[in-house]
Point group: C2
Chain length 243, copies 2
């Protein structure tokens, strides 16, 4: 389909919307980031909320994508869908499916990163769950980060194509998702990450190659890239970090 | 592809493996539940672990599926994949994508149900996080369950096909996933669920129609359906339930 991609996500944070946004940017797609447009252009949060309150075929939460008559929600599904439409997914069917599995595992890591500061509930303030957040963050830093990053490292090292990418011969949405989660972890937990980064040579190489992909490099220095902040998924709360 | 489906999951629990298992059962597919087979048949947990420790293209965690030369992991992706291969996904492309979005939202609800008893970490025993589990369960019961079930109810009620199913004209993997999560919630939180069930007429109707689908009905009364238990995702801990 040749239609424009309309991405909907909260305008003030990278959050989960950043995963499909990176795919659209890396592919130099014709897309709109609708909730960041002015109301007069049909944009804004109000326009997004109207779609979420429709009676039929509505998304549970942002991000969601409208492409022609298609509505796709869930960050990993949107990323995979866009990548497959835009030539950023592997051509080989088994590689394509593996890239999807990687994207969903990345989404699990993102959910766990979120829950480090919201272990009790999204409906409560961070300040009302700081004790639980400290406990969960310790577990995340010490057990979960090494488990996830070790897995990414092993599949990058074991890619039979020896391309240096996670799957297949070329950069895919799986690599873009890995880039984003590494950036987020480095932002949120700088002490922990600097302490363990050297264990994961292959995935830091992927991170650097993604950052140098010309459309991504241009995007990262543009005003379209929202800075990390303490309303997003990855938050820098020093009390949750440690070596 | 005509090859047999090989599903791999922990043999003692329904867990996340139950979502693809229900699709395979509902379609009367030619499949093996490999970790539940005897070692002599090439089964058992050891066979599953060997695949997880391979160097290349390995899954992060069970469940995973091997179908020909394809490896698919992540419960929602496996369910969608099997359903699309086996005629349990909508034919219409926009409906097919919406069914995938629903399946992933169901997976999010499953993850939140899991975290009610493991809010701090999967590496710790429930007994070491019971205080946090009580807080998170209250939030889950009072805020999250109504939000998720209200969403499912609204899309079932708003399905433009007026089929009584979540999407499209026929039962799909989205309905099977909804069935499973409703069964799980009813098992884990009977007091809460009996108190709010009457709000959600459409989705309980889906639950009942899925249970009466002949292959599903046969499966549910077979020994292949593992009973719910306190090692799975949905656990009945009375201290985490309330009206």
């Amino acid at each position: 389909m040749g239609e424009r991609f309309d991405l909907y996500y909260w305008p003030q944070i990278q959050g989960r919307g950043e995963f499909p946004r990176l795919v659209l940017e890396a592919a130099e797609a014709d897309y709109r980031d609708v909730a960041r447009l002015a109301d007069a252009e049909g944009g804004g949060v109000a326009a997004m909320m109207r779609l979420m309150e429709k009676a039929e075929r509505r998304p549970f939460a942002p991000p969601f994508l409208i492409h022609g008559n298609r509505l796709v929600s869930q960050a990993a599904e949107i990323s995979s869908y866009c990548a497959e439409e835009l030539g950023l997914a592997p051509q080989d069917e088994s590689d394509r499916l593996f890239a999807r599995s990687i994207a969903l595992t990345t989404a699990d890591l993102v959910a766990e990163a979120h829950d480090t500061h919201h272990p009790i509930g999204v409906g409560l303030y961070y300040e009302d769950q700081t004790l639980e957040a400290r406990r969960r963050s310790q577990e995340f830093r010490e057990e979960r980060i090494p488990k996830f990053l070790g897995w990414f490292e092993s599949i990058a090292a074991g890619n039979p194509q020896r391309s240096g990418w996670l799957v297949g011969e070329r950069m895919s949405h799986a690599d873009l998702g890995l880039f984003q989660v590494l950036e987020g972890l480095r932002y949120a937990l700088p002490r922990r990450m600097v302490n363990i980064e050297s264990r994961y040579r292959h995935i830091w190489d992927i991170r650097n190659r993604v950052a140098q992909h010309p459309p991504v490099a241009r995007y990262l220095t543009s005003s379209r890239r929202i800075p990390f902040n303490e309303n997003g998924i990855f938050r820098r709360y020093p009390e949750l970090d440690a070596d």
